[in-house]
Subunit: 395 residues, 2 copies
């Protein structure tokens, strides 16, 4: 019927591979290692229930009214206090999940065809969030310690083609689970400052370390050179959609304008509830319970991989925090093709290809160890090994 002319970008908006996969995982009996869903066991239900009642009783009318685009002042202060460097709450912008922070960053930094640098591989949701601005995403070579500095410099571009930003996820990266080393962080911050390229530091998982805290954030090393993003989705719960960014004063007002245009403000009720939950050091007591839970499930998955993949030429990362690990299949295999065989065996994962800005490695896939139980992880990894064996036999 309608035959409207849409924006050029709309032609590229198609159902994502991951969305389609996640639909499969809703089928009864499927164990999903695909999604990035935090374990509901980690949600502090009682604290939320009490905070909702407290906020409604004390500030109900204010919580339900329009509020400021910057965010609820006590929550901005709480965010500043949580971060391990000297942050002025005036530089904190509360966002509707950290996904929205990515949308705002795209709007402020990227024109059509702007060059932007990303890790190899990188967070798929960031590629999607930046896509409406139609940038050119360029993969920078990355090893076990993170982004490779020489390649970062080589890909930085010059003049009109100079990279507008470099997007990195230093702690327990989505999708690989890897963590950028202390030395690499220092080198990246120095090189980015030298080249005057803004670093976009995404840190949703940083508090979910298992044995020791990761090195200091990039932003702590050069606050004027970094736009930092954080989230309450992994340390409290994602359903309230509360994230934040910390931006240098020189660009903060641009983010604020973009935020106001995008959704006026993040729901004030949600900001007040989270502010109420986290006061008095709640996160100091709560986050360790998540670390313990996820560490045990990571251990289960690593042990299951050792056991089940024995004799198969399969490799995987060994994350020291976060939610994901990254698997590389034997030479010649394709994770997308493996998925059908895996789903037949009642297990789902996310193929790695969509996480690459370019030159995808089709042998890769992402596994989450936080949503399924330990028993389910054991069953699922055995099923995955069976699918690999069967695919190798059929090849």
């Amino acid at each position: 019927m309608t035959n409207w002319t849409l924006a050029a970008r709309a032609a590229k908006m198609n159902p994502s591979a991951i969305r389609e996969i996640l639909k499969l995982t809703d089928r009864p009996g499927i164990i999903s290692l695909a999604g990035g869903l935090p374990s509901p066991k980690a949600f502090p239900l009682n604290a939320f229930t009490e905070a909702c009642a407290t906020v409604m009783a004390r500030d109900g009318a204010s919580a339900l009214q329009y509020s400021t685009s910057e965010g609820f002042a006590p929550l901005r202060q709480a965010v500043a206090d949580l971060l391990p460097w000297d942050v002025n709450p005036d530089q904190v912008l509360i966002t509707t999940g950290s996904q929205q922070a990515l949308d705002l960053i795209g709007k402020v930094f990227l024109d059509k065809d702007s060059r932007m640098l990303v890790e190899t591989p990188t967070y798929l949701g960031a590629l999607q969030a930046f896509a409406p601005q139609e940038p050119v995403a360029v993969s920078v070579a990355s090893d076990d310690e993170g982004i490779v500095i020489d390649d970062f410099a080589a890909k930085a571009g010059t003049g009109a083609d100079k990279a507008r930003l470099a997007y990195v996820l230093p702690n327990f990266q989505n999708p690989t689970g890897r963590t950028m080393s202390e030395a690499r962080r220092a080198a990246l911050v120095a090189k980015a400052a030298e080249l005057n390229i803004p670093l976009i530091e995404d840190n949703p998982y940083g508090d979910l370390w298992f044995d020791e805290e990761p090195p200091l954030p990039l932003a702590a090393r050069n606050p004027e050179g970094v736009v930092y993003m954080g989230s309450f989705s992994k340390v409290l719960a994602p359903g309230l959609r509360l994230g934040y960014l910390v931006a240098p004063a020189a660009v903060y007002s641009k983010f604020l304008q973009a935020k106001q245009a995008a959704d006026l403000h993040t729901p004030g009720f949600n900001q007040r509830v989270v502010s109420e939950v986290i006061k008095d050091g709640f996160l100091d007591r709560h986050v360790p319970t998540i670390r313990t839970l996820y560490k045990a499930q990571r251990d289960t998955m690593l042990a299951a991989l050792e056991r089940e993949m024995a004799g198969l030429d399969v490799q995987w990362t060994r994350p020291v925090g976060g939610m994901f690990l990254w698997v590389t299949l034997p030479e010649g295999m394709n994770a997308q093709n493996l998925l059908a065989a895996a789903v037949e065996r009642k297990v789902a994962f996310v193929p790695g290809a969509p996480f690459y800005a370019d030159n995808a490695d089709p042998r890769t896939l992402r596994l989450s160890y936080v949503t399924a139980s330990s028993d389910e992880i054991n069953t699922a990894i055995a099923a995955l090994a069976d699918a690999i064996r069967s695919t190798l036999a059929g090849a």
Copy 2:
């Protein structure tokens, strides 16, 4: 310190005139007729408090988990059921306030320099939401019945310059308070279909009618020709940021992709709470109380204007619903200049100029009758008349 190259659009992102004005209105003692804040007297606090407790007790873990980008299924069904035409819930997308629906519409329809048609004047927030796509907004002449059809056709453009969309707010428009007539709606829908121009129908105030329901929405007349936007902000409360759009199937999937990239999904907790509040016909009982409240305050403001502006060459609209009326000052006056004199007299309003896409009329200003009490409205209109008189005397 930082000297980064930002997106071209960022140069245009500056603190809005209205934001700066609203800061003034926070000063103690100022009566604000400026903001579009619904009266907190209209917020159903008890119903929200109960719904929060119910949702947490029954579905707490689901409410706090990630959820689908389309929105919570029972809420999509409820929206479809509320609307006065045959709506398939599959075509309903829940948004983070209807401001976000505007952002998504810009992303799906507008390229840089795309022509878009708007009313004269139009909703400032829509201009801001579309701005990141850098379109060319063209004002279509508008009279008391709404957009003028001949001018709509004359401004439609052709070929690559053909308008990508026409944005209209038919009921109790923000900022003017005017309502599009039955005949004008029919003519606009027919002409837009003939020219194949998508109509964007924004209807946040439609339920806030005072004596009789407004004519049927444009979307009810040609669902395939209209993207319809609604909101719970004015009938329940804005602080939860819940809006929705209804899109023809041919473009729905594009909106869904844009939504996913923008913030993954609207907070599931909020969707469940509103779904819980409105089940069993709550709005049928609640909205009439808002109509009664706002009608009384409109009456107060109209009476005050008749009384206080007597002898001054001031004109104003007489809205039959909604939250705003529109004032035109005497020839030669400038509402922006008047504001300083008004604030001295402890009353604030919004100058009309920012609501024009082009050729602003500097004599115009917007007044809200919903936030201030009737006593405050009387005091404020007297002060405003005094400011006008004083400015005229000084001129």
